[in-house]
């Protein structure tokens, strides 16, 4: 029986040709669907190989008992491990609390502030972490820090004379403060996404039932978004351990060694203690894997609690006069996390040298001129921009295609792809870079000192972040929107291209911007993999930090920060415009598919 026979009025000839066309189109759809599936499976296998092969060859080639004994007998290792634990737990707790609070304030209360709310989690991400750290050195160095100089002059007026301080960034407090600043946006973004997905009527029902704001938050909102909070805790742990910019800059002068710096030192010592570095990497890997399993266990039971995606506007909680306090806190965060360090960088960048009492009449462009006159630096800048653009595009595309495929396919395939895509997240970035160098640097590849190896590491390293962003974006698309496409006769490839990707565009653009900034400002892979023929911004920064003047460092930091900011703003602006043209802010009328096991089987 054909699709058209029941239609009165259609001519018989037209019917027949229409049917044939439908047949071939649908057959083609099946084939394109199959090819799509094969491609996705192949892509997943390639990603898996990019993990297994380098890590495997690293373990096989470098790990031996002598190296293990070396590490276990080294007091510096235990100190680094202890310091890392402190710097993950303390700032981690702060970051989860502050990030969740900011997310709730901006999603659910009248303290949110339009564009500022949108920028709040993004601005600190746009500023490369190395620029943030250096900026804070200029602000809070105990002798010459701009903030300290200013505060001391204020205090002198009230009769208090200080020779240094009151702040000192080269300290435990400074490190904890900067770690916290860096980690807050990660939590903020994840929790915000979860709150946006959470049907506001759940909270409204609690309010109507007589629960005050705090009780609603405690008994309804927080339990419902527990998976997101769990995931952000894991991310905080991961990024805390992997953190390299802050310990490499501030930790050095504060004499606080952490595992990431310890690892790089092992690797870069002469002769390189690669075996010991690999063993430390394996230990970190084991801890991460354990934490990951724990996180999955804790959040799986909750997997069905966030239903929604109806796109209703929640009724906002009125904070009253308190909302100004909250707003000042948020603006304060924005200032310390991006504005103040950026201003400090810019000030120092225009000075011939950095002192406690700068002579502003001597301001100069010399620091910038040296860079742009230097071929090596120009090369580093273009290389990094290219790596950032290619890496971010590849990472986001791979994540988007695989996430979409996994959703369309369902079942066991999903879990497999999900595992592979998230796995690099459990591996310390430095370990990953080392593994790639060992596996691909020598025979038979000889990729050491090439951009190829850098781009591979960047993509693999940042895939989990892109994956999480793409996964969140696809979550926002109601299940019926996907099902309606299948019913219409669309192959999975077509559904991805026509339905998923356009509706994910906003989330993907944000992920692209984030990846771009992270890659351009990366120090981890750069410190291991960038060679003399492949200078990147990260390696230039490190060499200037070690050998150059502060003013040169500031100029470089300013260039990266401004360039990143401009590119990210352009991307966000463009997607916002595209989205505004294509759709209304109300994402979909479609309710997400109800959890089948819980509802239909009753």
């Amino acid at each position: 029986m054909t699709a058209t026979t029941t239609t009165p009025g259609a001519g018989a000839d037209q019917d027949r040709s229409g049917t044939r066309r439908t047949r071939t189109a649908l057959a083609r759809a099946t084939w394109s669907g199959r090819i799509f599936a094969v491609c996705c499976a192949a892509l997943t296998l390639v990603l898996l190989a990019l993990l297994v092969f380098p890590l495997g060859s690293m373990l096989v080639r470098e790990l031996d008992t002598a190296a293990i004994r070396d590490v276990l007998g080294d007091d510096a290792f235990y100190e680094a491990a202890r310091n890392t634990a402190i710097l993950v737990v303390v700032p981690g707790v702060f970051a989860v609390a502050i990030g969740s609070f900011f997310a709730w304030v901006n999603e659910r209360t009248d303290a949110k502030m339009g564009a500022v709310s949108t920028m709040l989690p993004l601005a600190p991400l746009v500023l490369p972490q190395i620029a943030l750290s250096v900026g804070w050195i200029f602000l809070a160095d105990s002798h010459s820090g701009v903030l300290n100089v200013f505060l001391r002059s204020v205090l002198r007026h009230v009769g208090i004379h200080l020779a240094s301080g009151p702040f000192d960034v080269d300290s435990w407090y400074g490190m904890i403060f900067l770690y916290t600043i860096v980690l807050v946006p990660l939590v903020h973004i994840m929790v915000s996404a979860a709150l946006r997905n959470l049907d506001p009527s759940l909270e409204e029902a609690a309010r109507v039932s007589g629960a005050p704001v705090w009780r609603t938050l405690r008994t309804v909102s927080l339990p419902a978004i527990r998976p997101a909070i769990g995931a952000s805790c894991f991310l905080v742990l991961l990024m805390g351990v992997a953190q390299y910019s802050v310990p490499r800059t501030i930790g050095v002068s504060a004499r606080i060694d952490v595992l990431s710096t310890y690892l790089v030192r092992l690797f870069q010592s002469f002769p390189p203690k690669t075996g010991s570095a690999v063993f430390v990497g394996v230990l970190v890997l084991v801890v991460m894997a354990a934490a990951w399993l724990l996180e999955r266990r804790l959040t799986r039971r909750q997997s069905h609690s966030t239903i929604g995606g109806r796109g209703q506007t929640p009724s906002l909680v009125r904070l009253g006069p308190l909302r100004w306090v909250v707003r000042v806190v948020m603006l304060g965060y924005l200032a310390v996390a991006s504005l103040l360090p950026l201003v400090a960088l810019l000030i120092v960048a225009f000075l011939p040298y950095w002192t406690a009492h700068p002579d502003f009449s001597a301001m100069t462009l010399a620091n910038f001129r040296t860079y742009f006159a230097d071929d090596g630096f120009r090369r580093a800048l273009t290389d990094s921009a290219e790596l950032g653009a290619v890496g971010a595009t590849a990472g986001v595309l791979i994540a988007a295609v695989l996430v979409s495929f996994a959703r369309l396919r369902g079942g066991r395939a999903v879990r497999g792809i999900d595992m592979v895509a998230r796995a690099p997240g459990a591996i310390s970035h430095i370990v990953l870079a080392v593994a790639f160098l060992i596996a691909l640097g020598g025979a038979p590849f000889y990729w050491a000192n090439t951009l190829r190896i850098l781009i591979l590491v960047y993509v693999v390293m940042n895939l989990p972040q892109a994956w999480v962003a793409a996964d969140t974006a696809v979550d926002q698309i109601g299940q019926p929107l996907t099902e309606a496409s299948a019913i219409s006769g669309a192959s999975s490839l077509r559904t991805m291209v026509r339905i998923h990707l356009p509706l994910m565009a906003g989330g993907l653009a944000a992920a692209w911007a984030m990846l771009f900034v992270v890659i351009v400002g990366d120090l981890n892979a750069s410190s291991i993999l960038a060679g003399p023929d492949t200078p990147v911004v990260g390696s230039v920064i490190l060499s200037i930090f070690d050998n150059g003047t502060y003013s040169q460092l500031a100029a470089l930091g300013s260039i990266i920060a401004v360039a990143s900011g401009v590119i990210v703003s352009l991307v966000m602006l463009l997607t916002r415009r595209l989205q505004a043209a294509a759709s209304q802010p109300r994402r979909s009328r479609a309710r997400r598919n109800r959890p089948r096991s819980a509802q239909e089987s009753r």
Partner: protein, 413 residues
């Protein structure tokens, strides 16, 4: 209560799948069914690990041009049944044929994905893509089937005119009212002229007035286009007005199949009677045959029920009344009386010797437009009554009577 006989027949049609076409309203007896589901089962795993049966060996066929409603309370498996038919859910066992083509066969491990089933479906949530215009939404199934751009535009305009949305082609769907969005969803499900269209509670998201309108339009469009369809709803009015036949589901099994009139007039079980329309239940303690009627000892006293004639439809599922009454003496029976079948007359006492007549008092009255609904108390029993007589006030003494042919005797469960 012997559901066994008729149910087995309803659930296991002869291999040629003929049950559906036998009472096909359009009389195309020679054609094979448009939808033929045979012994479909679907189990779900609960989070705790235990399994529940959502659909239990359901067989159902729909004749070409026929619109069949699947009704039942939430959780009865009706949505799962529809999703299995659409290919959005994969049944564990059974066979599904659409237009004679097997799209699912557990024995041969055959499963055709939804995009290859050439069906239309209207979702409860509309599921309109917010990034596409109305025309792009509606034209999507055509583009998927390889229809050219120009032809698509023409057919989209035609179908939009049919559903009364001409001129809205370039609007984004979110700018439309709920009723209009519903119409776009309808147009999209029909535009490729599928022979089978599925409806998943399509009218549940709009207000009562729009729903009335859409219901009427749906009937007209169905008459005009003549597609076959399965219509899942929990709203009995939708089901009765729009569809040719009703399927009542209970716990994943078919409780009764028949035309709306049959199911209403001769519900096979108490469950069906209560789900389709309002009904009064009167407890029965004993029953005995006397000629062509059944004498019941009930909470109302002596109650006479005429044995109801089997319905003239050939569908065996509805022919069950005698089966219910014959299980008499165990006190597990109940008498069912529709409110509109209860007569009220002013007066103190019923005439001597009149059957099924009792003195009662009006306890409560509710104005329902052209009808009044009364709650009448007879001893300890309360009966709900629909009456055209608007004059009775609470406290009025009335004589209550029911014709024996309107007393239905069913298993109490």
């Amino acid at each position: 209560m012997s559901l066994g006989g008729p149910k087995t027949q309803a659930n296991h049609p002869p291999p040629d799948g003929g049950t559906g076409s036998v009472d096909d309203p359009r009389g195309s007896r020679a054609t094979r069914p448009a939808i033929d589901m045979r012994r479909i089962s679907k189990r779900f795993q609960r989070v705790s690990g235990s399994t529940t049966v959502a659909i239990d060996e359901v067989s159902l066929s729909v004749a070409p041009g026929e619109l069949v409603a699947v009704v039942g309370p939430s959780g009865c498996g009706k949505t799962t049944l529809l999703r299995c038919l659409a290919g959005l859910e994969r049944p564990d066992e059974g066979e599904i044929h659409i237009d004679g083509k097997a799209v699912f066969d557990s024995a041969r491990r055959k499963f055709t994905p939804p995009e290859r089933r050439e069906i239309g479906m209207m979702f409860q949530s509309y599921a309109l893509w917010p990034h596409m215009t109305v025309a792009q939404n509606v034209g999507y199934p055509l583009r998927c089937r390889g229809v050219s751009g120009r032809q698509t535009a023409a057919r989209v305009s035609a179908i939009l005119a049919t559903v009364g949305l001409a001129g809205l082609e370039n609007e984004p769907p979110n700018r439309l009212s709920g009723g209009q969005q519903q119409r776009v969803a309808l147009a999209r499900s029909l535009v490729a002229e599928p022979s089978v269209v599925l409806f998943d509670e399509p009218l549940s998201n709009v207000d009562a007035r729009v729903r009335e309108e859409l219901r009427l339009e749906l009937v007209q469009i169905h008459t005009k286009l003549g597609f076959s369809g399965l219509y899942v709803t929990h709203d009995q009015e939708d089901a009765m007005e729009v569809c040719d036949r009703l399927v009542v589901l209970k716990g994943g099994r078919i409780e009764q199949i028949g035309t709306p009139a049959e199911v209403y007039r001769a519900p096979r079980t108490t469950y069906v009677a209560e789900f389709v329309g309002m009904v009064n239940r009167v407890g029965v303690s004993a029953a005995a045959y006397e000629g062509s009627s059944v004498l019941l000892t009930s909470d109302l006293g002596r109650l006479v029920a005429a044995e109801q004639p089997a319905t003239d439809a050939a569908d065996p599922a509805t022919d069950t009344t005698t089966g219910a009454a014959s299980g008499s003496a165990d006190g597990e029976l109940t008498a069912l009386i529709r409110p509109e079948h209860v007569r009220l007359a002013a007066g103190q006492a019923p005439p001597e010797g009149a059957a099924n007549s009792w003195p009662g008092t009006v306890a409560f009255s509710l104005f329902r437009g052209s009808w009044m609904q009364y709650l009448v108390r007879i001893g300890d029993v309360e009966l709900s009554v629909l009456s055209a007589d608007h004059s009775l006030r609470p406290g009025t003494a009335v004589v209550v009577s029911v014709a024996p042919e309107h007393v239905m005797v069913r298993s109490a469960r």
